[in-house]
């Protein structure tokens, strides 16, 4: 059992195997993500009822909550992949971690932008310096820092390690984002979706929201696989199979 797990784990460290495996996965996951997100958005924006107090403005939740969730989940993915890369010296973990950064960054930007657009009609302010908003801004800055660190290094391997260490240091921000609305008083309301209890949200709004979150997760997986494939070709361009593949792609 343990041996089988170790073999499976080692297979993941092969860039060539990952490159082959990820081709169909990124395709199918991408289409499934598109269907889920399109269904969720049409459902949420056109068919869900208005909210009793906020009217129509609450509908931005179908973008805001999935992007905020993903920006944190992707950050954790980067940190865990970075730790695997540092401990087991697996190149592929670093490649995936690097290519997750722009995806997570775009999710953080989307979460902050939709939050500001939502804040203006409901709170009466685009931005306030409360703990939730500030810690989310720090998350965006961490993403920018990770990307800058990768590009600042002469050798890609040094960039991988430096960014992995920064990602691990920044993990402390994730529980701060999550619990900021419980630990301190903030303008941002506490979480609606909780593991421990039923969401105080009507089914007609909750189902498209959960579908949208699921679709965003799938889209992240598909996008991450696609970007990592390119990173593999770039970083393994000295390997014979990669050169062959690049020639094939160029011939198309």
């Amino acid at each position: 059992m343990w041996q089988a797990f170790v073999r499976w784990f080692h297979k993941w460290s092969s860039p060539k195997w990952f490159y082959e495996m990820s081709r169909p996965w990124s395709f199918w996951l991408g289409w499934l993500a598109l269907i889920c997100i399109a269904t969720a958005l049409v459902w949420g924006l056109a068919f869900s009822p208005v909210e009793r107090l906020q009217g129509n403005s609450y509908r931005i939740i179908f973008l805001h909550v999935p992007s905020a969730f993903l920006s944190q989940a992707i950050y954790m993915t980067i940190a865990v992949a970075g730790a695997i890369g540092l401990v087991w010296r697996i190149k592929l973990a670093f490649y995936a971690a690097k290519q997750c950064i722009p995806i997570g960054m775009s999710m953080a930007i989307l979460a902050l932008a939709t939050g500001a657009i939502w804040g203006k009609p409901t709170w009466g302010a685009w931005w306030v310096w409360d703990a939730r908003l500030t810690s989310m801004l720090i998350l965006l800055l961490l993403y920018l820092g990770l990307w800058a660190l990768h590009n600042a290094m002469e050798r890609a391997e040094s960039g991988d390690r430096a960014a992995a260490i920064l990602a691990l240091v920044g993990v402390v921000n994730i529980p701060i984002i999550k619990f900021s609305v419980n630990w301190w008083n903030t303008l941002h309301q506490p979480a609606t979706l909780k593991v421990t209890e039923a969401a105080p949200m009507h089914m007609s709004m909750l189902i498209p929201l959960l579908l949208s979150i699921f679709g965003f997760y799938l889209a992240f997986l598909a996008w991450m696989l696609m970007r990592t494939r390119l990173e593999i070709l770039d970083r393994e361009k000295k390997a014979r199979w990669a050169q062959q593949e690049i020639r094939n792609l160029e011939a198309q």
């Binding site: 009822p49 208005v50 909210e51 009793r52 107090l53 906020q54 609450y58 939740i61 730790a83 540092l86 401990v87 087991w88 009609p121 409901t122 709170w123 009466g124 302010a125 306030v128 310096w129 409360d130 703990a131 691990l168 240091v169 993990v171 402390v172 701060i176 630990w183 301190w184 008083n185 903030t186 303008l187 309301q189 506490p190 979480a191 609606t192 105080p200 949200m201 009507h202 007609s204 709004m205």
Partner: protein, 147 residues
């Protein structure tokens, strides 16, 4: 797991927990600064400074909203159900401002305990319900489940 890898893993776990402890200590020391607003109890016990801009948050006390004739000036009380703060505001209130709901006001507190607000922000809660459902619940005599 070979000893070299085990050592690196332990180093990472140690580093992450050290950063966690450091952040926890800093945030604990700064806990009052991280809070976005003072509660009415804190204001009535004298924690909040007077004659400088502060934020106060709580619920708008039911029945306390009084508008002056011929102007936009409005008076209301913000409460945390232990203490109240009297607020005066001259301007347009946000759409979600209503009695019994959350609010954060930004302004100066004078010696008499009156807070003159420059800005009123409406807080909303984590409950999302269509209007018909709220109405039906109220009809059935369970208004609490939606607030």
């Amino acid at each position: 797991m070979n000893p070299k890898r085990k050592q690196r893993l332990l180093l990472i776990l140690l580093g992450v927990s050290a950063v966690g402890v450091a952040a926890a200590l800093v945030l604990f020391a700064l806990r009052q600064n991280v809070n976005f607003f003072f509660t009415p109890s804190e204001i009535s016990s004298g924690v909040a400074p007077t004659e400088q801009v502060i934020r106060a948050g709580g619920m708008v006390r039911e029945g306390s909203v009084k508008r002056e004739d011929g102007s936009l000036r409005v008076h209301f009380n913000v409460t945390d159900f232990a203490a109240d703060v009297a607020v005066m505001y001259d301007g347009i209130l946000p759409d979600l401002f209503r009695e019994g709901d959350g609010v954060v006001v930004i302004g100066k507190l004078d010696e008499t305990g009156l807070l003159t607000a420059d800005t009123v922000l409406a807080k909303h809660d984590e409950t999302y319900m269509p209007p018909e459902v709220t109405h039906a619940l109220e009809q059935a005599g369970h208004p609490d489940t939606t607030n």
